[in-house]
Symmetry: C2
Subunit: 342 residues, 2 copies
């Protein structure tokens, strides 16, 4: 089985975007604020948006199951207050849940949280509980910068995050650490902010003792870990200067990297430098980079091709990256599969 | 000849740091503000600080000449106002100039600028002129985020930077795009902020048409280009989505990467992915990562070893990375060497 641990619902029917625009207008003028129930998307519309897009590509490329969460750039936690984020998260999570019900063999949901700048992360717990208990979510996306590029929240090691971590540990679910749209002109969203956030989150973990407090907490750093594997020597050296244990002991029981790196040499470096047990297959397909690479004739985000062409990821290692690591990092996914006899 | 294009005066006599502390105290209480002339460092002290440190390692490792600029983390443009930065930059640049006079065969200076948050970059031109005309500086360090991690200045493509670029083009000097200390708790200075800034600066250039306006402007992106080479496919794909030319045409006549990547697989990726004409040898020695790598028994920042062990950088390519590219990107360095018959 090939599990793609990083898929977003980037192809939701346009009604979703329209509703969001009305919600944003409603922040300024309460008379314009739509009710959640104003959004009407039929099962047929959902089916069509998936069958023609993600599911078509999954079949073409040969992946089986996607851990599916709301569109990352649309989370935009910086817009409005907690109530705005709360309604928006509930709507987006419900859609991903419905997709998972329509295509249970191919999609399993992960939740976005109703984060809001300056609001305690603990406020996200009720949405998380609902998503896990009622919707069968197997993970969450955690935004380390709900400001959207101003980075004025405390680092991930801050105790304000701890109530959320406690709930994650209780449910045994990991978080993908994933920012949303940048509203800072300095940072291009997918070309700078995403990668910077990955590097930043890793370093926040490195400088802290977060995983001493939470030995079972697990983070997936997406986009191949930002700059981290490329600078693995730098990070090993920095840990050494900071008198931290070896990274293998300090971080690699808790931190995992996905394979959203869109060229062969990048995947080769990732799989050479990072232990294979810490790498989870992912494509973030129909995401940041949707084109065809003229150098290969294939889609940049068809990351399975890079794994197939790898001389490092062979034999059992392929099974690890495609399936076994995801089952280990997402135990609720594993349990859901086992309930189906898979 | 082996030219290291990225060295900072990280080992300056402690009197410099003491003076800076007094200057910072003077921001709150003008009575405490020291005069520039209060700082007294003798030539012998300068010699000692270099001979026992950078020069010793250069000889041990086998590099010949370092392009030498003030300590990056000490620039701290976010501290005080333009007057504070101005005095501080003048002091730091003078010290690097004096080092270059004491060791003319081994050090040639590059200048820091007296940037200050919210102050027009054009205000830095007089210091730049002095450093080029009187001190023989062959390049500058340009801080894309003088706030120190708050990123509230306009991107490098903004017209407010243009007067500085015009002066750079007039003098035919490149800039290394290098941030300073992070005063944002989210960003570790050398583990996150530096690398993020590299990626951010590259993407600011990618999304803009800066090099159409300045075909002869040249930037060196340090630390191996941050996350860029590792995600080269992503950046090629993003340029494609943005309808920009191929990166080779759009950016690679103007952007160069140094070799401050502290492990073999990173250097191997860099040299595989980025054209060799765009790579300049550098170590940033006695910088962010000063330890010995237990996996190799050698200093992490002894980057020459990675080049020597490369199966890609062989024959003439080695000469390109060690010397020829630096002479081309820093024409004033080339001219200075030629004046000495080198």
């Amino acid at each position: 089985m090939i599990i793609d641990c990083h898929g977003h619902y980037t192809t939701a029917p346009k009604a979703l975007e329209d509703w969001r625009k009305r919600q944003i207008a409603g922040i300024q003028d309460a008379a314009l604020m739509p009710a959640a129930s104003d959004l009407k998307i039929s099962d047929d519309e959902l089916r069509e948006s998936i069958e023609n897009n993600q599911l078509r590509l999954m079949k073409e490329r040969g992946s089986d199951l996607t851990i599916f969460s709301p569109r990352a750039s649309f989370m935009a936690h910086h817009i409005g207050d907690f109530a705005v984020s709360s309604t928006w998260a509930a709507i987006c999570n419900e859609l991903c849940f419905r997709v998972s019900q329509l295509f249970p063999a191919h999609f399993i949901p992960a939740a976005m949280l109703p984060q809001s700048p300056g609001v305690a992360p603990a406020t996200c717990i009720p949405e998380l509980v609902k998503c896990v208990e009622q919707y069968g979510n197997v993970g969450i996306n955690l935004n380390p910068d709900p400001s959207g590029g101003h980075w004025n929240s405390p680092p991930l090691s801050d105790r304000s995050w701890y109530p959320l971590y406690e709930k994650m540990v209780e449910y045994d679910i990991p978080a993908m650490v994933h920012v949303s749209t940048s509203c800072n002109d300095c940072f291009h969203t997918t070309g700078a902010h995403y990668l910077n956030a990955d590097t930043t989150a890793f370093m926040q973990c490195l400088t802290s003792d977060l995983f001493k407090d939470f030995p079972n907490l697990r983070f997936i750093i997406p986009h191949g870990g930002g700059a981290v594997p490329y600078h693995w020597g730098r990070f090993r050296g920095l840990a050494q200067e900071l008198k931290k244990p070896l990274l293998a002991d300090h971080l690699l029981n808790n931190i995992f990297f996905d394979t959203c790196v869109y060229h062969q040499p990048g995947i080769d470096l990732l799989t050479k430098v990072i232990p294979l047990k810490n790498i989870l297959f992912a494509s973030e397909m129909i995401g940041a980079v949707r084109g065809i690479d003229p150098e290969t004739g294939h889609h940049y985000d068809d990351t399975k091709r890079y794994i197939e062409a790898s001389t490092i990821v062979v034999g059992d290692a392929r099974h690890q990256i495609y399936e076994a690591n995801a089952r280990r990092v997402f135990p609720r996914l594993d349990a859901a599969l086992k309930r189906k006899g898979l």
